[in-house]
Subunit: 470 residues, 2 copies
């Protein structure tokens, strides 16, 4: 372990977290925060990421006591600071730490490859990471896959891969593989969404399931949020994928109603708020700008890809999941179409200010943001887009600078498009900011209150709202 | 009013209920149960149905003190008995009662005509009923449409029709038209689902909305279940249709997962139970035999039909709603296919016992029952089906006698298909009943517990369960 500058002063069982993304980092903090009945930390935690610039930046950040992600959740920040101070959370790119681990949590990405006509599972990075574990871990080390994976992955890919490496190493025992899915929700309750939330898990073997249960029970508040153990890892993997597919489908379901409401003069938000009072319908989604983020944009395809690539089944089409992804993908273009309609079909040369770049309110994450789809299409039609987002300063995907402090003056714009309900936009003094600008206002994501919209109308300005026909 | 033998001993404002079906009858009982602060009945209620044998049977039943529907809800029975005893609920086919009504609740059917290639709204009966009201009601009578109708119906069909009749009669005032949708759920909480549940409503005019609010507040427990007033009747109509479309879509969504789970060895019920612990996903549906009843089978088509027939809009396709109806319609055939697969593709001459005829557990309603689709298709393939249902003795739609007392001996059957989780079936002593019969058991609707299924397997019998791959 000489390469690394990471060492722990107190000896405790070592838990490794493979992958320091939005889930892995927060999970590592949660594990480092686990305490015994005397209030002493239970584990030493090592977060392992790749030895590339992005990975090394996170590693350095963690080791210097700075949480490597933007968050508004003070609990996560406090828990990280405590772990840093007590010295039981370090990060490294040195995979030899896996040799000492009691548990490895797998929190790396598993993407869908959209580059060809038919999407496929982009398995190589994931498989490589599992192989690395197989080359290093102790026979009795528990592998807990938290990554959202196509159902069947633990049984058909992870366990066989580890087993093959074990055989190479002359180890006869079965690897201990479990799947447990997180429901991390970056935002105000980021940390609580790990430790104070229901967990589903299963082991490939009875022993792996038992070990996973024991471990999770030390990290999660299982008294208030009892664990759900399923009969197989395929069932657990299916749970996560189905859960996100349900959400994506329920978002897509709203689209046809939004267009109908806009056309026949109905405020669909008012309708949905009334429907939501019925407890069985309280999770109905609202019209919006689009669906982004790492999960809902790809997870609904995992069942179909699993059937095809993991189980070799023909003709399993998952029509609702596929339609959901397709519908959600083109959702941002609905807003663009409304703007085009307003400008008689031609937005070439029009200057637009887009307020909101990230995929979700109060989160600084641009992955698969619907704003990206919107901006690419708008630029394609000759529009000039200026972007603002209080939580983003540079937009990687579009290699574009983003205004993130004061709002620019609205005077030079033909249109202002509200795309993300960030706190800053909800609190905006609209009338003052808009002044006597001639820009049209597009509320693509229920950013403006009834009062704010009325204010704009009172100023004799045009306001177009997604999902509202009045 | 000489034709009718209905009269009230005490004078109170008269509320008419047009249509004595599952909604109208229960609603009439609820209105008759409304009391002032001294505990005295507020209204006299007249239920009006058609002068045909079915209508007359209901009318006679009500007037002789017998609730004209099967129910397990003692509260509804008690409330009906009280209304009968206190003499403020009568029934008639005499439409001249509308002449005296303060409020008319419209609870008649509005069907979709499926007889042609493209479904259409079967509007004639509904329009005729509204015309009858226009010919009779006082100018100040409030019409509350409770029927589930295509959005736009109150504004574009009901109000203009009443207005035309008013003009014929020389009445200048605008008719008072409101829409308020019930969420009646026949079953154990039938009565409570009217008076102790959230209501959505709107008026075509401000005055109609106000009158509707005043009236509903006397019938519904609005202190605990505040009313939701929407900006237009079209919005209220859309709410009901959207609510049921949401449910139908969420049922259909499960189908692709059920087939996947069955194929890859997963118990989808276990998965869904784990997912449901997450409050945002607690309403996820389960795999099942099919979708029946009067609402979910047609309501998801009403938005599309409204766009086309009421608003004259082209190209509004409602893909999720249409797919939901299509998927749900063929759901019972999945069970049939599994039986065929078991018998190597040929069920000709096979004798099957189907347990469950109604569309819903503990309800004696055969309208659009999935069992109907199943039986027709099975008979078409040469199978012989014997039907049992504790709540049905004669199956109108199939003109078939239904066993409704003791279960027949299983010995002569090749297959036993559980289609409805009626209480009687849940409590069945399976092992004893099955004995050493060779019949295969199909659990199409989660009727059998884990223990019951294990019991069957222990008897070395074949059990096929929809939604379970283990």
């Amino acid at each position: 372990l000489g390469k690394s500058n990471t060492k722990f002063e107190i000896e405790r069982p070592l838990i490794c977290v493979q992958g320091l993304g939005f889930v892995g980092t927060a999970m590592a903090v949660a594990v480092a925060s686990a305490k015994d009945s005397q209030g002493n930390p239970l584990y030493n935690v090592v977060g392992v990421d790749l030895p590339n610039p992005v990975g090394q930046k996170k590693i350095d950040s963690i080791n210097s006591g700075v949480l490597p992600l933007e968050t508004v959740d003070q609990k996560l920040i406090d828990a990280f600071n405590t772990a840093h101070t007590q010295g039981n959370f370090l990060a490294t790119s040195d995979t030899s730490f896996y040799k000492l681990a009691k548990v490895v949590l797998v929190d790396i990405h598993l993407d869908v490859d959209f580059s060809k006509e038919e999407p496929s599972i982009a398995f190589s990075g994931f498989k490589g990471a599992i192989k690395t574990l197989g080359e290093n871990i102790l026979p009795e080390c528990l592998i807990v896959v938290e990554t959202t994976v196509p159902p069947g992955t633990c049984e058909k890919v992870v366990a066989p891969s580890l087993k093959a490496e074990f055989e190479q190493r002359g180890i006869e025992s079965e690897p201990l593989v479990a799947h447990s899915y997180e429901r991390v929700m970056p935002g105000a309750d980021y940390f609580a969404s790990i430790v104070n939330f229901w967990r589903v898990f299963a082991g490939v073997s009875e022993a792996a399931g038992n070990a996973c249960e024991t471990f999770l029970s030390t990290v999660i508040n299982v008294d208030e949020y009892p664990l759900s153990r399923l009969h197989s890892t395929t069932a657990s993997e299916m749970g996560k994928v189905m859960e996100n597919s349900y959400r994506a489908t329920n978002i897509a379901f709203i689209e046809e109603w939004a267009r109908f409401a806009e056309t026949v003069g109905v405020d669909l938000f008012q309708v949905i708020n009334a429907i939501r009072k019925r407890p069985t319908h309280s999770n109905m989604r609202q019209p919006g700008f689009g669906v982004g983020g790492y999960c809902l944009t790809k997870d609904p395809l995992f069942a179909k890809l699993s059937a095809k690539e993991i189980f070799g089944l023909e003709g399993m089409d998952f029509p609702f999941c596929s339609s959901a992804v397709a519908t959600n993908n083109v959702m941002p273009l609905v807003t663009l179409q409304k703007i085009k309609d307003h400008f008689d079909g031609d937005i070439s040369g029009k200057k637009m200010l887009m307020l909101g770049v990230s995929y979700r309110q109060d989160v600084g994450d641009t992955r698969y943001s619907p704003s990206e789809i919107f901006v690419r299409a708008a630029r394609d039609k000759g529009a000039e887009i200026v972007c603002h987002d209080p939580l983003i300063d540079y937009w990687e995907e579009l290699q574009t600078d983003v205004h993130n402090e004061e709002l620019p003056s609205v005077d030079s714009f033909d249109a202002v498009v509200f795309t993300v309900p960030h706190r800053e936009y909800l609190e905006l003094d609209l009338a003052q900011w808009l002044g006597d600008s001639a820009a049209i206002i597009i509320d693509a994501n229920c950013v403006l209150s009834d009062e704010a919209r009325q204010q704009i109308k009172d100023l004799n300005k045009t306001v177009i709202s997604i999902g509202r026909g009045i």
